[in-house]
Every structure is written in C-alpha cells, then in structure tokens.
C-alpha cells in the first residue's frame, strides 16, 4: 500500500484531467498508428471540468488548501490544463512522452497513479469516463494501484473530518457511501456547474507551474505503457452498418398526424 502524507496546510486535492480533441470537430483514427488523431483543437475534456469545480468547492469549504492537476498526453499539450488552472487550480503535473502513444486504460492508470503519488493528496478526483475513450475503468484502476478505497459515480461529495461521504449513482437512484481519506472518487458529469475562468484567472494561469515529466521520471518503463504495455491490438477498423434516413416532413400544422399514422401502421396504438 502506498502511504499518502497528511498535509498541515488545508485540504489537498488532485484532479485527473484529460486533454482531448474538441468533440465538436469530427474525430478520426490515424490508420497508421490506429490511435485517435490528436491534431486540431485540443481542449479540457468537459467531463473533467466537473471534477475541477468540485475540487475547488471542497477546498473552499475546508477553509483552504490546494487543487493540483495531473494529466497525460503524448505531445506536451497544455491548453486544456491552462483552462483548469484558469478556473483556480494551483499547479499541474503533465506526463508527456512519445512512448505514451497507444497507451490503454491500465497503462494510463499506472502513469496517473505514479504522478498522483508525488502530490500526496487527501483526495483524488476523476471523471467517470473520458469523452473520447470512455473506458470508465481508470478510476478504480488508479485506486487499486495506489491501495486506496474508491467511490465511483459521485453525485455529491462532502468531507467529514478524515472521511468522505459520497452520494453514488446507481441504476435506480443513489446510495450513500462513506470511506476514509485518502480516497479516489469519480465525479458524474453535470452534478456541479463548472465556473467560467475569469480574465484574472486566465492571466494568472499563464504563470502557474506545470511540471512536465517523462515515463522514466516516474520510475516506469516504456514497456508499461504505449501499445507495448497494452496486451491488445486493433485488428480492424470498419464502417458500421448505417441506419438509413427515412421520411422527413416539414410541420405545417399536421406533423402530428404523420406520427399518429406511423404508430397506427406499427399497430402500437
């Protein structure tokens, strides 16, 4: 088990954030590397903005502390990190290494866990899944690698002394979960309203520290990450069977009748 130090100066939260190609632009896979193309506009994954906001609120409620970011990117990208720093995070670790290209969820968790450990946080927040890879396994993988408890799919988080109380999403509602700190908690999208960075925040973010580390700096070997570390290979990329567009009708007051007829023909009404 990895031991995490307690801090004297308030609450220390690490938020894992991913910088992804803007989902508003059409994505594609690079046929040569079989990885998602990371050209174009790279932004902070919206899914992670909820964790950043949650962390900032928890630190404020705790009466002080810091929010640190941990991120991984093959090409040294920092634009998304600057967005989160502008929201109010204090500093960031960016693990950037060409060897990271093709890294799977477990490899990602190894890298993030090693980077998080350098910050010795009281609490680690993540999204429930990234918007581009959406494996959804990284939070529990990080927790297992660090020997920590974890609560996934948090709707709300409350710090209670040395414990954290979480409302965890379930299929039919939610459950209340408590666990001692330090812990890993994944935050469901939409549960807080992420703040917009202020102009002052954006200016301040430019000079906040971003420590750039390689895989070797973290004590990991290149065989732990990338395609080499994955234990899987993409064998085919193919167009899925497409649904055909049907009839499209402009509503001029009788659109509802089209729907009634359609449902009648299906014999569902």
């Amino acid at each position: 088990m990895m031991r995490l130090a307690q801090h004297n100066s308030g609450m220390h939260v690490v938020v894992c954030v991913k910088q992804i190609p803007d989902p508003a632009e059409p994505g594609s896979l690079d046929p040569a590397t079989k990885t998602l193309k990371r050209t174009g506009n790279i932004i902070l994954d919206e899914s992670d903005s909820y964790g950043v906001e949650m962390a900032l609120q928890l630190v404020t409620n705790a009466g002080g502390g810091t929010v640190s970011l941990v991120s991984m990117a093959p090409g040294g990208e920092t634009k998304g990190l600057r967005t989160a720093l502008a929201m109010g995070a204090s500093d960031a670790i960016l693990v950037s290494d060409p060897a990271l290209s093709g890294t799977d969820a477990l490899g990602t968790a190894k890298v993030l866990a090693a980077a998080i450990a350098r910050k010795s946080p009281d609490l680690v927040l993540t999204a429930t899944e990234s918007s581009d890879g959406y494996t959804g396994t990284v939070p529990s993988q990080i927790a297992e690698l660090m020997g920590l408890p974890s609560v996934t799919f948090a709707k709300s988080i409350e710090i209670d002394g040395s414990s954290v109380n979480v409302r965890r999403q379930t299929e039919s509602g939610y459950e209340e979960v408590t666990c001692p700190l330090p812990a890993v908690v994944s935050v469901t999208a939409g549960v807080v309203e992420p703040r917009y960075p202020s102009f002052k925040g954006i200016m301040a973010a430019k000079s906040k520290p971003v420590e750039v580390l390689t895989v070797a700096d973290l004590g990991l070997s290149a065989s732990d990450v990338g395609w080499a570390g994955g234990g899987q290979e993409i064998v085919e990329i193919a167009a899925a069977e497409a649904r055909e567009a049907g009839r499209v009708v402009e509503d001029e007051g009788e659109g509802f009748a089209e729907i009634v007829t359609f449902l009648e023909n299906l014999k569902v009404i």
Partner: protein
C-alpha cells in the same frame, strides 16, 4: 473452435438477476464449452436462473456487509485465479459495479480490458472485441495479445438473453481475502428514485426529451406522451446535466442503452453521445425544429417542427382515441 471456459459477472437488483447478465450468458455459452458465474451475494438466490441460462457453477462471495463490491470481488477473483488458474475470458457488463470490479481486477492481474464491447469474435484461442466509436459510425475490432487474463466489458443490449433450459448452477464459495485499506468504502443507505410506468431499458416504446423543450416544466409533455403510449420517459444528457430530470432517465453513452420497438425523440438534436444509446431502436421518430439536426439522419420518420406545437397536438389526438 470454442473456448474451454468463460466466467461472467452476475449482478442482481431487487432480487432479480439483471438482464445484462443473462445477455452475456447467451453469448458465453455460444463461445465456450463451460460457463461459470461469479456473484457478490448469496449464490442460492441466483443459482436457478443462472443455471437456466447456461451457467454450470456460480462462485459466490456471500453477504459483503454493505461494502462496495469492487474491491472484495476483484480480490476474491484474483485469489481464485492464483489458486485454480484463469478462465479463457472474463465478461463484465458495462454497469456501475461491473466497471468497478473489472478495473480493480485488471490492475491486480496486470490484465488488459477491452471496453464498450458489442460483439465478441472468437477464433481458436484468439479473442477480439468489437467496439463502436464516433457515435456508432465506425466499429473497431481489438484483439488480445500476450498471456495475461482477458477481461471484457460488454455493453447492454448487445446480445439477446434466452434461457437454455439448464438445471440450477452449483454454488461454490468465493473467499474474500483481507482487503486492507482498499475495502473501507461502506454503503450506509440505498435510495430508489421513484419512476412510474415501464422501465426505461425494457420498455417497448421510449419517449425522450432534450434541450429543444426549452425549459424543465415542458418535460411534462414527454411524460404525458409516454403515458399515452405506455412508454418509458427518457432524456438526453443535456437536460439531465441541466437538472431537469434525474440521471436515471438518461439515454446515451453515459446513461442507459435502450432498444425499444419505437423511440420518439422530442427536441433532441442527436449528439453522438445520445445516438449510441438509442440507435438500436427498431423505429425512430424525431421531432426537431432544426432540419439539419443529426437525429434526422437515423430517423424513420422526421418531423421538422417546433415540439411546443407538434407535441400538444399529438397528445390531444392520442387522448381522443
């Protein structure tokens, strides 16, 4: 050639084995000679139905005393694998608990996970998973390499659940080792958000609303239409994020996967995030005022119009029947 043995993570809620478990069992018995389940709870509660769907054995942890299931189940499986050897494949459903156990087990065993799988391709000992990307327009097939244990996370509604007529599965104890710090998360209360009508994942008709409704109070139109059609009400992520309806209503990548006979999308533009969750519907009807909305590219019937005009008339017409 089939695999020798496959393990399936069995889940139950309110005393009922989840449909995703039975869907996975249907595929598992097609690709493997022997299928076993593992279960967080009392194996006797589920042995009959799991057996009927093709499982010969269920490894059960017994009561976990309100612990979250990820750490105990992963640790118990890892210990069993160390003692008795690994199966050819371990299948989990893409559920809250399924992802927790799969993630922890993967980290314990140094084993890769292929996620979001909608089909499995088995060729001798080689196993590959098919994963839809870019809103389901592209399928990526990923094959396991190397000797590590193979773990897959299967999306709901990927396979059709069907009983095989087997007798009750044998129940074997699955011992949970000492979990240390990882096992300290405890459930103190469970709350169910009441929904009326059929369950979203099982309804023959689903009526969903999106941002085009304009404001939270207009979701009432979706509920009225759903009631008239004996349908389940659903929602896009946009209005769940906005707090109009609970998360349990969400259809899409991060919400529920539905495969009804008819899906009615009201004021939903059709973000890829949403389409992944509903494009398996047999028929899709869409009402949206933007004729360029992506939803129209997959709808069997598209009405380009204002939901605030079309829906009240539709509701009135159905009420008059």
């Amino acid at each position: 050639m089939a695999m020798d043995n496959v393990w399936v993570f069995a889940e139950a809620a309110d005393g009922q084995v989840k449909t995703i478990t039975l869907e996975m069992l249907a595929k598992a018995r097609e690709i493997a000679d022997e299928v076993s389940c593992f279960f967080a709870g009392d194996g006797d509660d589920v042995a009959e139905i799991l057996g009927e769907h093709g499982a010969s054995t269920v490894f059960a942890t017994g009561d976990l005393d309100n612990a979250l299931v990820g750490p105990p189940v992963a640790a118990a499986l890892a210990a069993k694998i160390e003692a008795d050897g690994a199966p050819d494949l371990i299948m989990f459903g893409t559920t809250y608990d399924g992802r927790d156990v799969a993630g922890r087990l993967s980290a314990k065993l140094g084993a890769p996970v292929i996620t979001n799988v909608v089909d499995l391709v088995v060729d001798g000992d080689a196993v590959a998973g098919v994963e839809p990307v870019f809103g389901g327009t592209t399928n990526v097939t990923t094959r396991f390499t190397g000797d590590a244990v193979k773990i897959v996370l299967i999306r709901p509604k990927s396979f059709a659940a069907e009983p095989a007529g087997g007798s009750a599965a044998d129940v074997e104890d699955l011992d949970v080792p000492d979990l240390g710090n990882t096992g300290t998360a405890t459930v103190t209360a469970r709350l169910v958000e009441e929904t009326s009508g059929p369950k979203l994942e099982e309804a023959a008709i689903v009526v969903s609303g999106g941002r085009g409704l304009g404001e939270a109070s207009k979701y009432e139109m979706v509920e009225r239409l759903a009631k008239l059609l004996k349908a389940a009400p659903g929602a896009s992520r946009a209005i769940v994020d906005a707090g109009w309806v609970p998360y349990s209503y969400q259809v899409g990548q991060t919400g529920k996967v539905v495969k009804p006979t008819v899906y009615v999308a009201c004021g939903i533009s059709g973000a890829t995030q949403h389409m992944v969750g509903m494009k398996g519907a047999k028929y899709i009807i869409a009402i949206n005022k933007d004729k360029e909305a992506p939803i129209f590219s997959i709808a069997d019937l598209g009405i380009v119009g204002d939901v605030h005009k079309v829906m009240p008339k539709l509701i009135e017409a159905l009420e008059g029947r």
